[in-house]
């Protein structure tokens, strides 16, 4: 079963991240590299991506004739997806364990970030016949 693990943050959260020290930033990046590598070695990795920051985010709607109407003004409280992993595991518990590992990524000052990870199942075509 596949799960998506999502890191979300508010604009303020992103702005804070931008102020991290070089050392903290490097530790975080190194953690993410190592974590992705582990997921690959464990045979559960499907995909992982980091997204551009909310400054660049646009809401797009179809206008007349389908022309795009863009809007970039968001309330401060809105949460933005910062990045995600998709993993293929054998149980929800295994997905939660992996999410907890992602959540423990180092934060500023070498503290454990304990960032919240949203875990959602990816729908597939598979279903058990039930024997």
């Amino acid at each position: 079963m596949k799960y998506i693990l999502m890191m979300n943050g508010t604009k303020a959260g992103f702005a804070e991240y931008a102020k991290w020290s070089k050392k903290d930033m490097e530790a975080n990046v190194a953690f993410m590299h190592a974590f992705n590598k582990q997921l690959k070695e464990e045979g559960v990795f499907v995909a992982a991506e980091g997204l551009g920051w909310p400054d660049q985010a646009k809401l797009v709607r179809a206008g007349k004739d389908g022309t795009p109407i863009t809007d970039g003004v968001f309330p401060e409280s809105k949460e933005f997806l910062a990045g995600y992993w998709i993993i293929d595991v054998e149980s929800p518990e295994q997905a939660y364990k992996i999410a907890a590992r992602a959540s423990a990524a180092p934060g500023p000052g070498g503290t454990s970030g304990s960032m919240p990870i949203e875990v959602r199942q990816v729908l597939g075509g598979h279903s058990d016949l039930g024997l």
């Binding site: 079963m1 596949k2 690959k40 070695e41 464990e42 045979g43 559960v44 990795f45 499907v46 995909a47 293929d88 054998e90 199942q121 990816v122 729908l123 597939g124 075509g125 598979h126 279903s127 058990d128 016949l129 039930g130 024997l131």
Partner: protein, 414 residues
């Protein structure tokens, strides 16, 4: 013969030969993990060369020879690294050229391979991947494609499975007595899971040719040849044939699910139904009836009804009664409740579902909500039925199923 047809023949030949060659190599070198890699490499080499150069006179000997060479190269480089002594490399020569012998143990080899790949020490996903590669002769890329994961991820999964086998110290030999019986059940379960994956998937699960359920049927046919007197092996094969026979009727052109009662039965594969029924009829009288045979018998009753209204529900209910006594599976109880409602009315079925609500294994399962919705609709409680269809839709992880359940709710609310 067209080029394409000859590619097709080569692929099938390779897949048939894979477990045989692997058996010979694993037996000779007593290292399943390395042998499995060597055989996969030999097979890939053959897939490149045979279409170009034509089939060798003895394809099996060719593959064995190439796999042997890989093994020896690997041992040489390892021992060179470790020992830096020429003696060790000399010793390797003792393995000598492969003979196309060992025919008498070929059947045993395939069975031992299945026992290894489906070992209970492995998780289901690992066992499935390893079985498809080592016994099914599929490439890592094909398996990865079927399960919609990157090839590197599948390669890691397979390599970790082999590592687990190595660490568990499972020898390449035939288990005996009670152990053998347990391992046989484990093999059947893995084959069942492969079938299930292929049958219920609307996305993925497609191999380059055919799909996972056809591959599961092929492997179960092999298993049946190896264990012709095992009634449950026959039962599993019959179950697969009788279920797969409905494949074309099971979804619409847009991939929408069509429930059994609404399927166009003209689309059912009569030949496959006949084969499944014949197999089951030959097996059931032998006496040792197990869960796969009973499931197959239930599938056969459905398949033999010319119209949904003609389904022999009392017969199906009786079979579920037997099955229920044999296994403590909540899904069996759930299906039993549905059969009971078809015979004794929806109220009886709903009572049985109430009892299941206490079972933690299934209390939060979408199937329970879906079954309840169905029975509530039959009982005329339309609002509650719609509510339970929606609740089931929120819980399922299967997209076509969710669409189906939402459509049911919408139909009742409209």
């Amino acid at each position: 013969m067209t080029a394409q047809a000859s590619d097709f023949t080569i692929e099938y030949l390779l897949r048939e030969l894979t477990p045989q060659v692997l058996g010979i190599v694993a037996r000779r070198f007593r290292d399943f993990a390395a042998a499995e890699d060597a055989v996969q490499e030999a097979s890939l080499a053959a897939a490149m060369r045979w279409p170009r150069d034509g089939l060798p006179e003895n394809p099996r000997a060719w593959l064995t020879q190439v796999a042997f060479r890989r093994m020896i190269d690997q041992i040489r480089s390892e021992s060179a690294r470790r020992l830096r002594e020429s003696e060790a490399a000399m010793e390797v020569e003792q393995f000598g050229a492969p003979l196309d012998a060992a025919r008498e143990s070929e059947q045993d080899d395939t069975l031992i391979l299945l026992f290894m790949c489906c070992h209970p020490a492995l998780t289901p996903a690992s066992a499935i991947a390893l079985t498809l590669r080592a016994v099914g002769g599929l490439t890592t890329a094909e398996i990865a494609h079927a399960f919609l994961v990157p090839e590197a991820t599948m390669a890691q999964r397979i390599s970790r499975s082999k590592q687990s086998i190595k660490e568990s110290g499972i020898a390449f030999e035939m288990p005996t007595g009670k152990e053998r019986e347990q391992r046989l059940r484990a093999v059947l379960h893995v084959l069942y899971l492969i079938f299930n994956e292929g049958y219920t998937s609307s996305v993925g699960a497609q191999l380059r040719r055919g799909d996972l359920s056809q591959e599961a049927i092929r492997l179960t046919r092999i298993m049946r040849k190896l264990q012709p007197d095992d009634a449950e092996v026959a039962g599993l094969l019959a179950l697969m044939l009788l279920t797969d026979a409905r494949r074309l009727a099971r979804t619409s052109a847009d991939g929408e699910l069509i429930p059994l009662a609404k399927q166009d039965r003209a689309l059912w594969d009569r030949e496959q139904i006949a084969e499944g029924v014949a197999l089951l009829s030959a097996t059931l009288p032998k006496g040792s009836v197990g869960p796969y045979q009973l499931q197959a018998a239930i599938a056969a009753v459905h398949d033999e009804a010319a119209r949904a209204e003609e389904t022999d529900w009392p017969q199906i209910l009786a079979l579920y009664e037997l099955l229920r006594r044999m296994s403590d599976n909540p899904m069996v109880m759930l299906n039993h409740a549905i059969a009971a409602s078809m015979v004794h009315g929806a109220t009886k079925g709903l009572e049985l579902l109430d009892a299941l609500q206490e079972d933690a294994r299934v209390a939060d399962h979408h199937r329970l909500d879906a079954a309840r919705a169905h029975l509530l609709e039959l009982a005329g409680d339309i609002d509650a039925a719609a509510r339970h269809y929606r609740s089931a839709a929120a819980k399922t992880a299967n997209l076509p199923e969710r669409n189906f359940l939402l459509a049911q709710a919408a139909r009742l609310s409209g």
